[in-house]
């Protein structure tokens, strides 16, 4: 049993990393990773929302009617995002300015709705909390990794501290928009090489819960996702 719980916690960090393996939450992964501080803040904010929404949705899973579950999940998530937004605004104003609109956009982050639909809506509270922690940590680790690469090579600094040694060699375009996509693409290829044969097939955890499922044919099993999505929407 303990082993099982541990695997729920750990799978989000490596085997089912939301960013590099599940390919969810691409927008914030690209937008907030041009510096390590912003990436860490974004990751932790999403982690908090993910744990809270997973727990609440798991508690309410027997009460929420199946046909309106997606709107219910969205309201719950948006509520927690608003709380996190207010806390960040009050206590970490610098981070609030740095993240800007992306903080509010945690609401529509596929990872959170996806986990609500795939995991929290079907599992007990404890497991859902562990899943939230694992996925949130996986998201944070991935963001910080991307941000480290981009900031060290692109801006010759780490979390705002300059690295004098790299100063003459910085590749400035890495901190700009195209660099984000390039680094992300290379990392996905790298993760594929590292986990070759070990990473589960995408089929085994379709992101049917994500409202973008039908459109993300690259990231989802195209066969079942659009069907179930259409059913939900009507």
């Amino acid at each position: 049993m303990k082993n099982n719980n541990l695997s729920i916690l750990l799978k989000g960090i490596i085997k089912e990393n939301p960013v590099f393996v599940l390919i969810l939450g691409t927008c914030p992964s690209l937008a907030t990773t041009n510096n390590v501080a912003g990436a860490l803040g974004m990751g932790l904010a999403a982690l908090v929302v993910l744990i809270c929404s997973n727990v609440l949705i798991s508690l309410l899973r027997k009460i929420i009617p199946d046909s309106v579950r997606i709107p219910c999940y969205i309201v719950i998530i948006a509520g927690f995002v608003t709380i996190v937004e207010m806390i960040v605004h009050a206590y970490f104003p610098a981070l609030y300015d740095m993240l800007g609109v992306y903080l509010a956009l945690i609401t529509v982050n596929c990872i959170i709705l996806g986990r609500a639909e795939m995991f929290a809506g079907k599992n007990s509270v404890g497991k859902s909390a562990l899943d939230g922690i694992g996925m949130g940590l996986g998201f944070t680790v991935a963001l910080v990794l991307m941000a480290t690469i981009r900031e060290v090579l692109g801006n010759a600094s780490f979390a705002g501290n300059p690295i004098a040694l790299l100063e003459p060699y910085k590749i400035e375009f890495l901190v700009k928009a195209p660099g984000g996509m390039l680094v992300y693409g290379l990392l996905i290829a790298l993760v594929y090489v590292i986990t070759r044969g070990k990473a589960p097939l995408k089929k085994s955890f379709s992101c049917a819960g994500c409202p973008n499922a039908g459109s993300c044919q690259t990231a989802c099993t195209s066969a079942q996702a659009p069907e179930s999505e259409k059913g939900d929407a009507q």
């Binding site: 309201v75 956009l105 609401t107 984000g180 459109s215 044919q217 690259t218 990231a219 939900d232 929407a233």
Partner: protein
């Protein structure tokens, strides 16, 4: 004239310079997912543009005449996402009833747009940037057209990628993102063009 000029600047800068997909990373999911074929990409682009315009037309008055008046500004995120979701459903129902042909063309994309972060993003950004109603509408139009442009350009590029032999680890999303990075690099060339045009 002055107002017209500022509207043109907003339009051009949101299409080219601050392209939501390529420069601000909003709406990446549909950009990567639906850009495989040109007709799908165009359909999705048009549907997103229409929903953005509608969403702005509804959320702007809600923010200024309802939330700000009653001091409920902190409910912005919840209210906006609910309004957008309801709006998309309504448009879908109306299209189904009154224009089945249009529904057939665009309807499949509509449910997917509800939580497209670009739509919520543009609604929130219009408020944070302090735009007037007219400016907000123009900015939404620009963002939508910019999305359409990026989708169409990218679908052309992807059809080329499909014909090439790509090393195994790069197949799928990796090469798609790298290709997107090059388009984004090209769009960086537009930085400053709008100011220069009207200088």
């Amino acid at each position: 004239m002055e107002m017209f000029k500022s509207l043109i600047i907003i339009l051009l800068s949101s299409v080219l310079v601050n392209n939501y997909v390529l420069a601000r990373f909003l709406g990446i999911c549909p950009f990567l997912g639906v850009s495989k074929k040109l007709d799908q990409a165009t359909g999705m682009g048009i549907a997103v543009t229409a929903v953005m315009l509608l969403a702005t037309a509804v959320t702007w008055p809600i923010q200024y005449y309802l939330l700000d008046k009653t001091g409920l500004g902190y409910l912005q995120t919840i209210v906006f996402i609910l309004v957008i979701a309801a709006l998309v459903q309504m448009v879908e129902l109306l299209l189904k009833k009154f224009s089945p042909s249009l529904h057939k063309g665009l309807g499949v994309y509509l449910p997917l747009i509800t939580t497209n972060c670009a739509v919520l993003g543009v609604a929130i950004n219009n408020i944070t940037d302090g735009y007037t109603f007219l400016e907000s509408m123009v900015s939404s139009l620009g963002v939508g057209l910019g999305f359409l442009l990026a989708m169409v350009l990218f679908s052309g590029l992807r059809s080329r990628i499909d014909e090439t032999n790509i090393p195994r680890p790069f197949r799928g999303l990796a090469v798609t993102l790298i290709a997107a990075s090059f388009i984004s690099l090209a769009f960086m060339g537009f930085a400053g063009i709008v100011d220069a045009l009207f200088a």
